[in-house]
C-alpha cells in the first residue's frame, strides 16, 4: 500500500487521536476538530461516496468557501480513488457549468443556497452530476425539491449505513491506490481562453510533500503539529491546497479556517499563525493597513510608529543584502525595537508568531517583501505553478535574494530555453497532463519531460529571476522588450493603488490604467477634507489624480526612459470577477480590459485630452 494523503491522516489519527486537526470559527468561537473525529468523518464521507456510486477515477466537484467539509470531502474522495475538482466560490454559474460538465463530475458539493442556485441554474448542461450535496441548510431545507439533492448530514448517514454493510470498502480502495492515480483536477484560471484542468497524481503530491516538508530545508525546524496555519485563500488553488490540506496531512499542522476573505485581518490576529502563505495582494493589503494605521494614529503614536518603521526600513535593507541574516548591529537594533515597538506591532497585525512566511502565485514588488523582513517577518518568495505542483524554486531561510524567486527545490531540474529564455522544469511533481485536452498537454510537456512554464526568466547565480509571463511581455513600437509586471508591481507597492495595467504592446510609448484602493484613498481623502460618494466619484477627483501622478512619477524615476509611463488613466470601476475582468485568482484578464476600457487606452495614444504630468 502506497503512502497517500489519506493514509497519512489515518496514521496521525491513530498516533495522536486527541490532537487538534482543524478549527473553524462558528458563532463567534473557534470550534475544534480532533484528529480522531476528523478521520472518522472522512471515513463516513468516503463510505457515503461509495454508496453514491463513486468508482475509481470518478470526479467529485466542490464549490465552497474554505471549511472543514472542503478538506473532508477532498480526502474522502481521494480515499475512494476519486478525483477532486475544486471550484472557486466566486465562479459564476456559466463557469460552473463549464467546469462541472468538462470534468464530468458525478457528485457536486455546493456549500449553501448561493452556490446551489448556481449549479441548479445550469443543471441541464451537467447531466453527469447526479448528486448535489449541501451543508448549510438555511434556505434549502424543505424548500428545494430537486432530484439528487442530499444534505451533508444525510451523506454521513448514508456512509454509516454503508459502513455497517461493508466495513472494509474504503480500506480496500485505499489499498488499491496507485502512484499514478489522479487525485485532483486543478483548473488553471485562464487569463486567455477557457480554464484547463491540470491532473495531479499521488506521485506529484508525495513529491511535493517530501520536498517541502520532508527535508526541512524550507522551514527550520520542520513544520509540525504545534504549527498553526490560517486557511483563507481558495482551496481549489494549488498553493492553498498545499498549505492547508497537504501540510495538515503530512506535518500535522493545525488548520484554522478563516470566516471569509474579508475577515482575514481579524482572524490573523486571533490565530497568530506560525506558518503563513499569502499571495502578493494580501501582503500588499497588510502593508497598506499597517501604514494607514500608523498614519492615522494619535500624534505621539504616529511619530513613534514612523520612527520605528524607518528603523525597520534600514534593517530590512541590510537583511535584503545579507540574504535574510542579521548582522550584529541590526540584531541589536531589532531586539530593542522588538521590545518597544515591533512586538506590539506584529501582534496587532497577527504576524507575531510567524516563523516562516511565504509569498507566491504572482509577482510581488521587492519593497513589500523588504518591509516585512524589516519588521521581523521571515519572508520567502517562492515560485511554482499548478502544472508542477507549485514546485520549482524557493528562497530558503538565510539565502534570501530579493527580486528573485529563489533556488531550485531539491530534486528539481530547472533550465532556461536557449532562444526564448522560457523557464523549463522537470521533476516528479510535473503533472500528468490536462484533463481531456491532449493538444494542450503536448504543448506544455515536451518529449523529454520538460514542463514549459510560459514564464521568462534569467539566472542570477543560483537564484532564478522571473521576468514576466511570456505572453505579457510588451514589445514597443521601437522594438524594446519591456516586462510590465515589474512596473505594475512597483505601482501596486503603494498603498493607494490596487490595480495597475501597463499597456504599450506595438505602441510608441507605455501607458497605464490605474485603479485606486478604495479603503486607503478614501481614508486619505477624508483626512484631506475631500468629500466623495462613490468609487467613481473618488477616482475622478483631480486631487486623487494628482496623488496617483506623484506615485507614477516616483516609480518612473526608477526606470529608464523606455520603461517609463508617459500617461495614465484611472479605472472608473473596481475590477471584478463577476464582470469577467479578473480571473478567479484576481489576475487581470487583459482581453477583457481591452474590451471594456479600450476607449480610455485609445485616448492616451490619440494625443487628444492628454493627462497632465507623468512625463
Amino acid at each position: 500500500m502506497i503512502t497517500t494523503l489519506v493514509t497519512r491522516v489515518r496514521d496521525r489519527a491513530a498516533s495522536n487521536p486527541d490532537g487538534i486537526a482543524l478549527r473553524k470559527k462558528d458563532l463567534g468561537v473557534w470550534q475544534e476538530t480532533t484528529w480522531a473525529a476528523y478521520w472518522e468523518t472522512i471515513q463516513l464521507t468516503a463510505h457515503g461516496l461509495i454508496a453514491l456510486g463513486i468508482e475509481p477515477g470518478d470526479r467529485v466537484s466542490i464549490q465552497s468557501e474554505n471549511r472543514p467539509e472542503w478538506v473532508i470531502l477532498d480526502l474522502a474522495t481521494v480515499a475512494v480513488r476519486g478525483v477532486t475538482v475544486g471550484l472557486y466560490p466566486t465562479n459564476p454559474s456559466a463557469e460552473v457549468a463549464y467546469l462541472v460538465s468538462h470534468s464530468g463530475s458525478k457528485v457536486h458539493f455546493a456549500e449553501d443556497q448561493e452556490q446551489l442556485d448556481k449549479i441548479l441554474e445550469v443543471r441541464d448542461e451537467c447531466p453527469e452530476a447526479t448528486t448535489l450535496v449541501y451543508t448549510e441548510p438555511r434556505g434549502i431545507e424543505s424548500r428545494y425539491d430537486v432530484p439528487g439533492l442530499t444534505s451533508w448530514q444525510e451523506l454521513q448517514e448514508l456512509g454509516a449505513k454503508h459502513r455497517a454493510a461493508h466495513p472494509d470498502a474504503v480500506e480496500q480502495r485505499m489499498t488499491a491506490a496507485e502512484p499514478d492515480d489522479v487525485v485532483t483536477l486543478v483548473y488553471t484560471s485562464g487569463t486567455t481562453g477557457p480554464p484547463k484542468g491540470a491532473m495531479l497524481t499521488h506521485r506529484n503530491v508525495e513529491f511535493g510533500i517530501e520536498t517541502v516538508i520532508g527535508q526541512g530545508s524550507f522551514v527550520d525546524p520542520s513544520a509540525n503539529d504545534k504549527d498553526l496555519t490560517l486557511s483563507y485563500l481558495p482551496l481549489c488553488h494549488v498553493a492553498e491546497r498545499f498549505f492547508t490540506t497537504w501540510y495538515n496531512a503530512a506535518a500535522g499542522t493545525q488548520v484554522n479556517f478563516a470566516e471569509s476573505i474579508d475577515t482575514v485581518a481579524v482572524n490573523l490576529r486571533e490565530i497568530q499563525p506560525t506558518l503563513l502563505f499569502a499571495v502578493p495582494r494580501i501582503w500588499e493589503k497588510l502593508l497598506a493597513t499597517a501604514r494607514i494605521k500608523v498614519d492615522s494614529a494619535s500624534r505621539v503614536k504616529r511619530a513613534y510608529g514612523r520612527f520605528w518603521l524607518r528603523q525597520a526600513d534600514a534593517i530590512g535593507t541590510v537583511l535584503a543584502e545579507s540574504g535574510g541574516n542579521h548582522t550584529t548591529s541590526t540584531r541589536i537594533r531589532y531586539a530593542i525595537g522588538w521590545v518597544l515597538f515591533y512586538r506590539a506591532f506584529l501582534t496587532r497585525l497577527g504576524l507575531r508568531r510567524v516563523r516562516h512566511a511565504a509569498c507566491g502565485a504572482a509577482p510581488i514588488a521587492p519593497d513589500v517583501l523588504r518591509f516585512f523582513m524589516g519588521v521581523g517577518v521571515p519572508m520567502h518568495e517562492v515560485y511554482g505553478m499548478t502544472e508542477n505542483t507549485a514546485m520549482a524554486t524557493a528562497n530558503r531561510p538565510g539565502r534570501v535574494m530579493l527580486g528573485s524567486v529563489g533556488e531550485a527545490v531539491e530534486g528539481a531540474e530547472i533550465t532556461l530555453d536557449e532562444d526564448t529564455h522560457e523557464i523549463l522544469t522537470r521533476h516528479p511533481g510535473v503533472f500528468l497532463g490536462y484533463w481531456r485536452d491532449e493538444e494542450a498537454t503536448a504543448k506544455a510537456i515536451d518529449a523529454d519531460g520538460w514542463l514549459h512554464t510560459g514564464d521568462v526568466g534569467e539566472w542570477d547565480g543560483t537564484h532564478l529571476r522571473v521576468t514576466d509571463r511570456m505572453k505579457d511581455i510588451i514589445i514597443t513600437a521601437g522594438g524594446k522588450n519591456v516586462a510590465p509586471s515589474e512596473i505594475e508591481n512597483g505601482l501596486k507597492a503603494s498603498p493607494f493603488i490596487k490595480e495597475a495595467i501597463v499597456i504599450g504592446d506595438r505602441r510608441k510609448y507605455l501607458t497605464a490604467l490605474i485603479g485606486i484602493e478604495l479603503d486607503t484613498v478614501g481614508e486619505w481623502a477624508q483626512r484631506q477634507g475631500l468629500g466623495f460618494t462613490t468609487y467613481r466619484d473618488l477616482t475622478d477627483k483631480p486631487e486623487v489624480r494628482a496623488l496617483v501622478d506623484g506615485i507614477v512619477k516616483e516609480v518612473n524615476s526608477r526606470h529608464n526612459p523606455v520603461e517609463q509611463i508617459k500617461d495614465f488613466r484611472m479605472l472608473p470601476k473596481e475590477l471584478d470577477h463577476e464582470d469577467g475582468e479578473l480571473t478567479a485568482t484576481q489576475k487581470v484578464k487583459r482581453s477583457a480590459i481591452d474590451k471594456s476600457f479600450g476607449e480610455l487606452v485609445e485616448q492616451m495614444y490619440s494625443g487628444a485630452g492628454r493627462g497632465e504630468g507623468a512625463r
Binding site: E32, E270, K293, S296, K301, F341, A344, R348, R352
Partner: protein, 369 residues
Amino acid sequence: MSTRLRGRPELYTSYGQEMSLLNTRAKALGVLAILAVAVYLPMGMEDDLLRVLNTGLVFAIGAIGLNLLTGYAGQVSLGHAFFIGVGAYTAAALSGDPDGRYIGFGITNPLIWVPAAGLVAAACGLLIAPLATRLRGLYLAIVTLGLVFIGQYFFIEWRSLSGGAQVGREAATPILFGADLTRAGAFSEEQKLFWFFLVLLVIFAVLARNIARSKIGRAFAAIRDRDIAAGVMGVELSRYKLIAFGLSSFYAGVAGSLMFVASGTLGPEQFGLLLSVQFIAMVLIGGVATISGAIMGAMLIAMLPRIASELPHYLPFLSRSPIDSPNIFEFELIAYGALIVAFLLFEPRGLFGIWLRIRTYWKSFPFSY
C-alpha cells in the same frame, strides 16, 4: 473547558473561555496584585485613613447593588437610602441588647445579621417592585423618591426601633468567632473591620459580576436598552424587574447593616435624600454598569469628606467651622453635584471610562484603533 493556546489571547475555543472573568493572563495577574495590595494595606496605613477606606468598602457594596438596578437594568432609583435604612435597623435590632431600651434580639454574629439585613431589605424591595415595574424613567424616580420620605417618617416615628429623631440607637455589633471586631486587640479595630469588609466586598462583587454576565445580566441589559424590545425577545419584564429590585435592595441592606458598625450609633435622619444622591453619584462617577467602576466611585465619595477637610491647607478662604461660610461642609455638598455634572458631561462612562481609555491606549498600541 478546553485549554487555551499559549500567546493567543483572542483565540477562544469555547464560550466558557470567552465568558470567564479572568480571560487573559494580564487580568488574572492584575486582580491578584490588587488583592495582595488590599490585604496588606492595613498593615502599613494610619488608622484614621483606614477608617475612610472602611467606609468606602461598605459604600462599594451598596453602590454595586444600585448599579445592578440602575446601571445594568436601567431602572433609576432614588430610594436606595430607604433600603440601606431597612438593613441598618434590621441588623441593629437583631444584634441589640435584649434588655436594652430598644428592640433587640442579642444575635451578635454578623454571619447571621448581615444576610438577615439583606433579606429583610430585599423583602421590602420585592414589595415595592410590582409598583415600580409599571413605571419607568422619571415616574419611577419620583416614586422611589417618595419611598425615601415615607421611610424616614417610619424610622423617626418608630421610636422603639430607632430611638427617634436626634437621638438614635446603637448600631450592630460584629462578634465573629468570639472576637469583637470593634475592640482593638492584636490588631486595631480599623484593621479587623477592613479585612472583614474586604472579604464581604470581594464576595458580593464576584457575585454581582457573575449575575451580570449570566442570563439575568443579559436580560437586565436588554431591558435597559429598550424594555419593549426586550419583552418582544422573550424577556419577562415584570420578573426581571422584580429580580433587579430584589437584588439591589439585598445589597443595600447588607451595606446598611455594616455602615454604622465603626461609628457605633445611627440616627433616622441619616437615611435621607442626600444618602441616595451619594449612591447615585458613586454609580455615575464610578461608571454605569461596571462593578469595578462602582467600587472606584464608592472609594472616591467616601474620601470626599477627608479631601474636603484637607482643603483649607491649600485654600485658606475655606473654613473648617460649620458656622462660617464658605466652609468645607458646603464644599462637600457642592462637590457631589459638581462631580456628577462634570462626569456626565466629560466622561459619561465614569472613572471606569478613564481606565478604559488608558487600557485602550495600550491595548491598541502602536495604533490608535
